[in-house]
Symmetry: C2
Subunit: 212 residues, 2 copies
DNA sequence: TAGATTGTTAATCGATTAACAATC
DNA sequence: TAGATTGTTAATCGATTAACAATC
């Protein structure tokens, strides 16, 4: 019966979470949708609408309790649970992800790093040993893996993604520059860096034209 | 007089570009909006609407010439021009970007790499020397810099972004986990990896609840 | 020419903003 | 209590889809 919450709303939740975290760090105890809207440069209406998709977290005449709202959004985003991540592709990008200490604070724990390059075998990144791709199946069978980050060239990504799904992994964080075709029960989040760069490029050209 | 083209449309253009590139590689000469819509899992109507924001690239009764459309979208995205990029922050992420050979094919050329860590000084990544942050001002004065990628911790990102703008850089590809407050003439494209990961986490939790 | 498919207008759907009654 | 601010309904705006005349 719950009405589906649009991805547009979901996309904004981490940003709310970030701003509330900053307010919390600054010792701010409560905030109104109006004040938050000024800081975030969105409408107060949108903030209230977005939040009320998940429940009434505020109080009339008072606003929102920062700590409470922060925690609630954290729960909505699943940050109260631990997510074990393996990274497949231990090149620079994979290692960059493995080094993001902040992920760990939010419950995202890197438990494994895999690559095909024998030269990397046994090397450690932040204490995490790089294993060979052949060992991945055993690894997944013996430990809980919630998310697989794909940080390898796109030529290998499709086959590895399917293998991961076969092995029971049902969430993929895909950095490879292709669209994965996977069963419906698998959740895929794409990070297409070159798409992002092209968007930037478009906006540069546009701005240049406008200024003439 | 040109009506503003929405960012929703812009966000889809690189994806069209990618699919057309694949068709081109496969030797496909022409394609109808209908067939493309099946491959891309969008509506044919949306494809035609999107493209017609920029002009009529097709031909009634024929469809679209793949090579022509590919090139036209490339021009729309500014890929016919060279963009010189410096990367500020030569950690794993910065080095990962520097190593993306594919960017170069699209006209994005990494011309400089900067860091504050003296241990990295003089090291080279794909032939590009890592320089110290202090040298950045001189570098920007003496060479054309179109885009600066910020791949450093968020604590330093805001100050560096402002410095870059002072030095005349007007496009920022921001990987730091904060919203930059910069003058209107500066174009900013954000890549917030942790936001992306939280979105994935939300969708994992949602799918888990649905399956109960 | 007949068939195919675009470009474009109109209809629908969904998301954002405005307004305000409820209530702390 | 009076003032403030939410939660929520209604109005608006914009984006997507459908339909079809134009035309290759």
């Amino acid at each position: 019966m719950d009405k589906e919450i649009s991805q547009a709303v979901i996309r904004r939740m981490p940003r709310y979470y970030r701003y509330l975290g900053e307010l919390l760090d600054d010792g701010v105890e409560r905030i109104s949708s109006n004040e938050l809207s000024h800081r975030m440069k969105v409408t107060a209406s949108q903030i209230r609408q977005d939040l009320n998709n998940f429940g009434g977290f505020g109080q009339q005449g008072y606003g929102y309790n920062v700590k409470f709202l922060y925690d609630e959004i954290g729960k909505i985003l699943g940050l109260d649970q631990q997510h074990n991540i393996i990274i497949v592709g231990a090149g620079n990008l994979g290692q960059a992800l493995a080094n993001y200490v902040n992920f760990e604070k939010r419950g995202f724990v890197i438990t494994g790093l895999f690559d095909v390059n024998p030269a990397l075998k046994g090397r450690k990144v932040r204490g995490i040993e790089i294993r060979m791709l052949e060992e991945m199946a055993d690894f997944i069978h013996s430990t809980q893996v919630d998310i697989a980050a794909l940080t390898m060239p796109k030529e290998q990504a499709d086959a590895v993604a399917h293998q991961l799904v076969e092995l029971g992994v049902s969430a993929i964080w895909n950095f490879a520059h292709l669209d994965l075709e996977l069963p419906d029960h698998v959740v895929v989040e794409n990070v297409h860096l070159s798409d992002s760069l092209m968007q930037l490029s478009y906006n540069i050209v546009k701005k240049k034209l406008e200024s003439i």
